[in-house]
Amino acid sequence: MSFEELEHTADLRLRVRGATLDEIFAEAGRAIFQVMYGHCKDRGVERRIEVEAESLDSLLFDYLSELLFITDVENVVFCTFDVKIQGTRLTAVLRGEPLDPARHSGGTLIKGVSYSGLEIRRDEEGYVVEIILDV
């Protein structure tokens, strides 16, 4: 599991890898929270979510959009993502801590997940996807 930031002038472009689908979705979640808030510790906040879509790419779009929604309305920051995917249905347990502006203000606010180039591909190491996020 890994993610890296690729060059993009105006927005944020991430390449996320995972050996399995569960892993790549978990890592994509971790990546956007890392970008937005920097450090995060599991301090007992837990949320469970379920998302269903018509394709894996749209499932990733919906899942990441759901994470952006939850952090915006509930003021929580997540650091661990336990994701299970069956077909194009996802369940995830998210763990983290309440948002603390003093510790979490060093990052970049993400406004939305773009569909541009959003395509989960298989390669020799597992799965890879590039995600462009509006920041």
């Binding site: 979490h104 203000s105 990052g107 606010l109």
Partner: protein, 478 residues
């Protein structure tokens, strides 16, 4: 210049049909030789992708602050036929009606001597900024429905500013056609606590001085004098707008096959303007746009109060010059093939720049054209321009929206430290206040094209005319 692009004028370039498969019209963009070096191939491809969309009229256009975004390029402008054409959130962006307003004060720079730090601190305390910032307003869901329909008027009726402010907003601070039913419960949940907050990223409130007047007669009409202290507010529709864009992007993407629309980039997901999905997006987008006008109205009012208390001013002495949107889609009347026709104009990172006598602009500005506000970055000047007849003829009454980035956020953070940027700017007499130095680093002046050059290009082309140059004195950021 990149391969495959033809020069058609001194500062004008054409992307021919065939640059990407399926283009219905050519692309056109405006750039000087010195800006050409910053043009990314990805931005040109995005400009060409827009030209594949159904019902696009004449050209896929981009202003000189063109850069690589997602869906439309940033700086992109395109008009669509009302019957054959489409509407797309990819032509507006997630921050619906991100925009700028400029307010004059009766103060001069010398009035701020020894008080600038205190002014910036008081503004920072009065206006919620940054990630997780919540409004001090307590509004209900019912209030929110009214905000989404009434826009800036909702704020004025609750004492945030005056009736005179409304006439000086694009669309008088509220577009018609809002459909609160097209706004999801999720968008509402995000919108309720965030009204009156600045947000993060490149959003700011900046105190500025009018440094140079280039067109004295028009400056007088707009109420600007040399040496005068002004302030500028740059922000948008916050989480509500982001959620409206996300929700409808998803609906439109799923409906592409229903309308047999084939696109090179799914972020351009769109639907016929008069389809259930197209009408739904438009109605929701208008709600978010109106929320953004109310948001900027509330923020302006809070800033006026800070100035009023500190300098013993009356709020009426701080005149709103104008408020412009730079991420929006609108139904407008333009000349198409020599005849007036209604088209759906998308502006993504582009500013409306209607010329003299356009019925949509305030009566008091009818003789000179609409004020166009171009924010610089923290260290570079901002400009006030006016709209022109040339813009009406060439660009659907549109011009640039800002300096445009040249360095990604990650690259600039590797090259500079926020603390250094803050100290360097302080050395130049510009005070910067933010929650974190990282936020300052991301928006460092070196991350942007020189605003002077972008503005010079639109001025030389006649897409808008420079009226005044404003320089930053202090800025609060998210």
């Amino acid at each position: 210049m990149l391969a495959g692009i033809n020069r058609v004028g001194d500062l004008e370039w054409e992307v021919p049909i065939g640059y990407v498969p399926g283009m219905r019209v050519p692309g056109r963009f405006f750039l000087s030789a010195s800006l050409a070096g910053t043009l990314e191939e990805g931005a040109v491809r995005q400009l060409a992708n827009v030209a594949t969309m159904p019902g696009i009229v004449k050209y896929s256009l981009a202003m000189p602050d063109i850069h690589w975004g997602y869906g439309f390029p940033i700086g992109g402008v395109a008009a669509f036929d009302m019957t054959e054409g489409v509407i797309s959130p990819g032509g507006v962006g997630f921050d619906i009606n991100c925009g700028v307003r400029l307010i004059t004060t009766p103060l001069t720079e010398s009035d701020l001597a020894g008080k600038r730090r205190e002014l910036i601190e008081r503004l920072f305390a009065a206006i919620p900024t940054g990630v997780g910032a919540k409004s001090t307003l307590r509004i209900s869901n019912k209030d929110l429905s009214r905000v989404m329909v009434e826009g800036a008027r909702w704020a004025v009726e609750r004492g945030f500013g005056t009736e005179a402010d409304l006439a000086r907003c694009e669309a008088e601070g509220a577009m018609s056609g809002a459909d609160p039913d097209a706004v999801s419960s999720k968008a509402r949940q995000r919108g309720v606590p965030q009204l009156g907050t600045l947000g993060a990223g490149n959003h700011f409130l900046e105190v500025q001085a009018v440094r140079e007047i280039l067109d004295p007669a028009t400056a007088e009409t707009f109420g600007l004098k040399e040496g005068q202290v002004c302030f500028m507010v740059h922000c948008g529709s916050r989480g509500l707008g982001h959620q409206v864009a996300t929700d409808h992007l998803r609906t439109l993407e799923a409906a592409l096959s229903k309308y047999r629309i084939h696109l090179p980039d799914r972020q351009l997901a769109c639907a016929p303007i008069d389809s259930p999905e197209g009408r739904g997006y438009y109605g929701g987008m208008v709600c978010a746009a109106n929320y953004a006008w109310a948001n900027r109205q509330v923020i302006m009012h809070e800033a006026r109060n800070v100035f009023a208390k500190m300098f013993g001013l009356d709020c009426d002495e701080m005149r709103l010059v104008y408020d412009v949107a730079h991420n929006v889609a609108k139904f407008e009347r333009h000349e198409v093939d020599g005849r007036p026709a209604e088209v759906c104009v998308h502006r993504k990172g582009a500013t409306r720049a209607f010329g003299p006598k356009a019925p949509e602009i305030p009566h008091e500005y009818a003789g000179v054209g609409q004020p166009v506000i171009i924010p610089g970055s923290m260290g570079t000047p901002s400009y006030l321009l006016c709209g022109t007849t040339t813009a009406m003829q060439k660009t659907w009454g549109s011009t640039c929206h800002g300096a445009g980035r040249v360095l990604s956020r990650s690259k600039v953070k590797k090259e500079v430290l926020g603390k250094e940027v803050r100290e360097q700017l302080a050395g130049e007499g510009i005070l910067v206040r933010a929650h974190s130095d990282a936020a300052i680093a991301e928006e460092a002046p070196q991350a942007y094209k020189p605003s002077q050059e972008v503005v010079r290009v639109v001025h030389v082309l006649g897409l808008s005319a420079i009226v005044a140059r404003l320089e930053p004195l202090g800025v609060i950021k998210g």
